[in-house]
């Protein structure tokens, strides 16, 4: 008789720890791979699982092995059809890997899937987000318990007394649990009979009543007043907190001066805002507006990858945004967020117009408007925190002083992005209430 052990109920995911260690080790390369995917993928897709290929560095497991392209060896193979000794067979490709035995797909060359949390962790790493913000962004949705019927199991605090007593009552009737009244009646009759002078008839009656009383009392003890089967608990369903809709406007200057690096930084800036909005609102839409000397609404693909030549007139983008808001996103139904990225170039005369547009229309409609000016790393030393700068920067600086929901910053690398949003994330509780 062999020993049987049923291991199916043992804890699962025994290798989870090993997986985490592996990811930690491959962190740098995975980060790069995720960054590439974010660069090429859609903004909204960041918040999902990603397949990545096996990082080559840091995860190799070297050992001494023979060089395939040296020396003489023999392969003993089955299935000879027409060869005779002395026949020559050309080597397939180079090195002769084709028909030599034991070649299987390398373990170092495969793609695997990272979970959403793992992707976000890697994404956040250069952005230098505070931990609390990271945690907030990773948390999928806020849930709120809602009453949803009754359950037979639950915590004592959730006992529904009304429902429990109703069940108990029904059961007592069905099982004919003697009522207190019946007992009282018998007891009263007994008392009267006992007070009367004794006779054979009364004696008999008393005995009968006593037996009856005892029987009823035994029955009452057997049939509980409230039995565990009666108990009902309030059941709660965890439902996502109802959130309003949000729309996010991405504005970007796509004139020739915006290169690959600038666009990459801009994209990360948009991704971060989108993650924030997605967590906060049930439905988030993204509108992409690109502009040179004229603005147009485009899809994401065109937004990031098509260049257009022309001058730079920022106010066209603001006008376009305003037009779209009027048309599709009435501000009483939508929370409007805007993120603008630019290298700061603008026609001097246009900057005045931008201030006007912002003050009179846009800032009234927006919950939040963030502007980043993407500058060269060398420039960041020169400008530092001075208020001097490009014409757009100076113009927006004026807006910044008037509107608390306006944020602006110069960014030279990924770590500069978060400070732009700092206030947004810091003011969370207030936002939650208004949303």
């Amino acid at each position: 008789m062999p020993i049987f052990i049923d291991r199916r109920l043992n804890p699962k995911d025994k290798s989870l720890g090993n997986r985490q260690r592996f990811l930690k080790r491959a962190r740098e390369e995975l980060k790069r791979s995720i960054r590439d995917q974010i660069r090429t993928g859609k903004i909204a897709d960041v918040d999902a699982e990603h397949a990545v290929s096996m990082p080559a560095r840091g995860t190799a497991e070297p050992s001494f092995g023979d060089a395939k392209d040296s020396g003489k060896r023999q392969h003993i193979l089955p299935g000879n059809k027409h060869f005779a000794p002395g026949d020559r067979v050309p080597k397939p490709g180079q090195g002769g890997g084709g028909s030599s035995p034991g070649k299987t797909v390398s373990e170092d060359d495969f793609r695997f899937v990272l979970s959403r949390e793992e992707v976000l962790d890697l994404f956040f790493e250069d952005l230098e987000l505070p931990d609390m913000v990271k945690l907030n962004l990773k948390e999928i949705l806020a849930f709120k318990p809602r009453r949803a019927g009754f359950a037979a199991t639950g915590a004592p605090t959730n006992i529904n007394v009304g429902r429990t007593m109703r069940n108990s009552h029904g059961r007592r009737i069905a099982l004919r649990r003697p009522k207190q009244g019946e007992l009282d009646a018998i007891a009263e009759e007994l008392a009267i009979l006992e007070a009367e002078p004794a006779s054979a008839a009364t004696h008999q009656r008393i005995t009968a009543l006593r037996e009856e009383l005892e029987r009823l009392e035994r029955r009452r003890k057997r049939i509980a007043y409230v039995d565990p089967v009666d108990i009902r608990f309030n059941r709660f369903d965890f439902r996502p907190v109802p959130n309003a809709n949000a729309v996010m406007f991405c504005l970007m200057d796509v004139s020739g001066s915006m290169g690959e690096r600038e666009k990459d930084l801009a994209k990360r800036f948009f991704v971060l805002l989108h993650l924030f909005l997605k967590r906060r609102y049930d439905r988030t839409e993204i509108v992409f507006i690109r502009h040179t000397h004229e603005a147009q609404e485009v899809d994401e693909e065109t937004f990031f990858y098509n260049t257009q030549s022309g001058g730079t007139v920022v106010s066209t983008a603001l006008e376009e945004m305003h037009r779209i808001i009027q048309q599709r996103y009435p501000s009483n139904e939508w929370n409007i967020y805007a993120a603008q990225a630019s290298d700061g170039d603008n026609f001097v005369t246009d900057s005045e117009r931008c201030i006007g547009l912002m003050d009179s229309q846009i800032m009234r409609l927006c919950q939040y408007f963030a502007y980043v000016e993407i500058i060269d790393e060398r420039e960041s030393h020169i400008f530092g925190t001075t208020d001097n700068g490009t014409s757009l920067w100076r113009a927006y600086n004026a807006v910044n002083q008037r509107w608390p929901n306006f944020q602006m910053s110069r960014i030279a690398n990924a770590a500069d992005i978060y400070p732009v949003f700092r206030q947004l994330f810091a003011r969370q509780p207030a936002f939650q209430k208004s949303a």
């Binding site: 995860t59 023999q74 193979l77 089955p78 299935g79 080597k91 035995p101």
Partner: protein, 528 residues
């Protein structure tokens, strides 16, 4: 299929089954049926094949758990390391994509012999797996001389338990990164971490290990730097000054040494006691798997032969239904499928197929030999006692010697074996021998040679080190047939050796025939 849900239906069914004499009917299994099937199969194995097995412990696991077991080299207990996570990702991917099915079973060379059964298997498959693993592999583990001499079936699980706990404690004390660094380096040398020529010492018992550890801890605690400043004894001084010469150095260090991990563990000047213990753990695990790698064909052949014979006997005696037998045969033929060399599915010689064919061939030679067989196998041809012949082969051979001794011309013709000579300098292969009179001997020798792990793995040994001089560790690689080491992985591995040794390491490639030095690589030439 969840066992609980099918239990009620199964009992009534198995009730019918026992009335009709069948071991089981239908595809669902439960523990009672499994147990009945095991007992019937075990009785049959002892009666029919005279097998001798360890007691069996069967464990039912889910596919997820099977994947877990895969990634930790098939052991139920294993210390943590990132490389296992990497293997897990790989296996999981293959499985998810449907690229590879999971094994139906996993068997562990331990006493009692642990057999993992997948819960998804049908009852017919469970019976097949029971015969294959719980009897076939089990018999092989218990009786093959390699396993008897080189591994300790009763101690391995408790040793792994100790290893896992020890490494966890080290991680707590010294940090995960430090432990990981040692494990990385030790893993790189796993191939060079086995004793090939002399038997490894027995695994010490828990109490002995505890004693050694306590002693080491005591030494660490009571270490006093003052002792170092004591004047050395006269003799010691003399030895130091005179330079005892290479021959004497080699003698004291027991060089040359083929087990690099063993050498580093015992002689490295930079390792802490806990680091030595970790190297020892890796070394013991490598040694434990060494016999398995030398007996793939025999082990799988033995198990396949046993299940094929037993299942047919069960069917002949009317103990299993035709449907079950059909399912078993289908799986059996999948397992022993061997495509030809030019088939796109070809990925080397299938050890199940070669093993089974050779063992059935032995059966044929001993019962109905041809004239050719009498020529080639005068000892066993027509002896009529195939059981004893097979039991003897299972007990006393490894793949290399088994093929060298028993591969018959008839089988070489059946497999249409041929030898392709592959010289790196030539743009083409040359067919050296085929399955004909002149080629039989060569093919047999060549195939046997390809299963000789000692010959097919790079032969690297520690040859010299001057502990009182520059402390450079000198390694030697015997280059056979001009096959040198792959350079990138060689350099990476040398870096790992330097980490364990603490000083420069050099590796000389020596031609095995001429004795001339082909090249020499030192870690001083390799950057970090």
């Amino acid at each position: 299929m969840a066992n609980q849900t099918s239990k009620s239906g199964q009992t009534s069914k198995s009730g019918q089954a026992s009335k009709s004499g069948l071991l089981f009917s239908g595809s669902d299994w439960d523990f009672k049926t499994l147990s009945r099937a095991y007992e019937a199969i075990e009785a049959l194995a002892i009666e029919e094949l005279h097998l001798d097995v360890y007691p069996v412990q069967m464990e039912i696991i889910s596919s997820q758990q099977m994947l877990d077991a895969y990634s930790s080299v098939g052991m139920p207990l294993m210390y943590r390391h990132w490389s296992f996570g990497k293997h897990f990702l790989y296996q999981e991917l293959l499985y998810r994509k449907g690229g590879r099915g999971l094994a139906y079973e996993l068997v562990i060379n331990s006493n009692p012999c642990i057999v993992y059964l997948m819960e998804e298997n049908t009852m017919a498959l469970q019976a097949l797996v029971t015969a294959h693993a719980a009897l076939g592999h089990n018999h092989f583990f218990k009786n093959n001389h390699l396993f008897r001499q080189w591994t300790d079936a009763s101690a391995i699980l408790s040793y792994l338990d100790f290893a896992k706990g020890y490494i966890t404690r080290c991680e707590e004390r010294h940090g995960v990164a430090a432990v990981e660094a040692i494990l990385d380096s030790a893993h790189a040398l796993m191939e060079q971490g086995v004793f090939r020529y002399h038997r490894p010492p027995k695994l010490s018992s828990e109490r002995q290990r505890e004693g050694v550890r306590e002693r080491l801890e005591y030494e660490e605690r009571s270490y006093n730097d003052l002792w170092r400043t004591l004047p050395r004894s006269k003799d010691g001084d003399n030895v130091g000054e005179k330079d005892p010469g290479m021959a004497e150095r080699k003698k004291t260090l027991n060089l040359p040494e083929e087990n690099l991990l063993y050498f580093l563990e015992k002689n490295s000047l930079v390792l802490e006691p806990w680091q030595r213990e970790i190297i020892r753990i890796v070394r013991v695990v490598a040694q434990y798997f060494y016999p398995q790698r030398q007996t793939q064909v025999m082990n799988e052949g033995c198990a396949t032969f046993v299940h094929y014979t037993l299942m047919n006997t069960l069917f002949d005696r009317g103990l299993i239904t035709e449907g079950a037998m059909l399912e078993i045969l289908r799986n059996h033929s999948n397992v022993i499928f061997q495509p030809g060399f030019d088939d796109p599915r070809f990925s080397g010689i299938n050890p199940y197929a070669l093993g089974l064919d050779m063992m059935q061939d032995i059966q044929r030679i001993s019962t109905e030999p041809t004239a050719e067989d009498r020529d080639w196998f005068p000892d066993i041809a027509g002896n009529g006692n195939w059981r004893e012949t097979l039991l003897d082969a299972w007990a006393n051979h490894r793949d290399e010697s088994f093929i060298r001794q028993y591969l018959s011309p008839a089988l070489m013709r059946k497999w249409r074996f041929f030898i392709l000579a592959d010289a790196a300098s030539e743009p083409h292969y040359e067919v050296a021998s085929i399955h004909n009179e002149r080629g039989y001997e060569k093919i047999r020798a060549g195939l046997a040679h390809s299963y000789d792990i000692g010959a097919s793995r790079p032969d690297i040994q520690v040859v010299d080190v001057d502990l009182l001089g520059d402390r450079q560790l000198r390694l030697e690689h015997k280059v056979k047939n001009g096959i040198v080491l792959e350079e990138a992985s060689r350099d990476a591995t040398l870096r790992h050796i330097r980490r364990l040794w603490g000083y420069e390491v050099s590796l000389a490639a020596i031609d095995a025939q001429t004795g001339g030095t082909l090249n020499e690589r030192s870690t001083s030439q390799i950057g970090e």
